[in-house]
Symmetry: C2
Subunit: 204 residues, 2 copies
């Protein structure tokens, strides 16, 4: 997830996240969509936030396997990111709170693309419902500004597939909800909406 | 959307919405999911919030057609609800800010169910992808506590269809994203992910 204006310093106000942080609120909502379930955290998800709003870019890694203190609300999540940004960002990962790591670096420095297929969420992509999505894939999303030509060149070099989630232009956090749901359904292929496990919806 | 603990008074803190408002943050995220698009507001959506956390229940109506001042972040949305809750709630609707109305009343007092089909989001429902969802339908969702037996009796009396959005238990706001996407796709049936209009994804 790329935050083109997202601040790389912790000196933003939790009382006005959209106005003082370069829209870290967008990243907070993406984190909620990526990890939060009704009764727990998606332990098999890793999220990488690229923050470019000041000086050298920083990357924050949230690792579902050992992520703690994550609440669904924006402010608590922003406070976790604030803590991570207060650390000295070096070329190696530094641990902030459990499951949250920070380092200096941009999209081009990520090594996560070596594993599975890379998907780039963009307006003119193929419908994700029809695609053979890999569970170990990496999904790249832009913020309200989107990705630059240089970013797109990196993704093209990786052979990224361009995918779309539907006919309307949606915010990145809504796209993540849709992709997670599609992957959930493929884990339980015997029924269109699952069926081999207890299903609950609409509660929090 | 039912907020079982959601405060009916404006005396909660925007600095700690989850801790002081009876989880109005849940309702704020539902509002974001229901209305927010990358480049605008879903004008054809109406949302009704039932707040039960203190004294007589109140209902807040957000009408997409003339909704204004809605930003995607939780705090701004909570501030709009705070304004609405500061008004005297009577049996008729009182306008707060543009597109936001408040009155005294609970689920049983809503007249919106007379129009189209009512859908109740619950764990054991049929997959929404396979259903002939009506665009003028009403979708009823609970919060982290869910609906009471009395609520369910009301919905049963309306002949509500019980629907589910997938194999995993999701928060109400994520369910709303999935339902909106399903309805979007049915508006543009010529292509699984639309295709008759410009498609953009992953930006905000």
């Amino acid at each position: 997830m790329v935050g083109n204006l997202a601040t790389t310093t912790p000196d933003f106000s939790l009382e006005d996240i959209p106005g003082t942080s370069g829209r870290i609120d967008i990243l907070c909502r993406c984190i909620n969509s990526a990890f939060v379930l009704s009764h727990g955290i998606r332990r098999d998800v890793d999220a990488y936030l690229i923050l470019r709003g000041g000086g050298a870019a920083k990357t924050i890694h949230l690792r579902g396997r050992d992520l703690r203190h994550l609440n669904p609300d924006e402010r608590t999540t922003a406070a976790l990111l604030k803590k991570a940004l207060a650390l000295e960002a070096e070329s190696r990962w530094t641990k902030s709170t459990p499951g949250i790591f920070v380092r200096a670096g941009d999209l081009a420095d990520l090594s996560i693309f070596r594993g599975g297929t890379t998907y780039y969420l963009r307006e003119d992509g193929s419908d994700h419902r029809g695609l053979p999505l890999a569970r170990d894939g990496t999904f790249v999303l832009g913020d309200h500004i989107g990705l630059s030509e240089a970013d797109e060149a990196i993704l093209a070099g990786l052979g990224a597939e361009i995918v779309s989630v539907g006919p309307k232009s949606l915010h990145a956090d809504h796209c993540i909800v849709l992709i997670n749901n599609e992957l959930d359904r493929r884990e339980v292929p015997s029924h269109p909406a699952g069926g081999r496990e207890r299903r609950t919806n609409g509660d929090e």
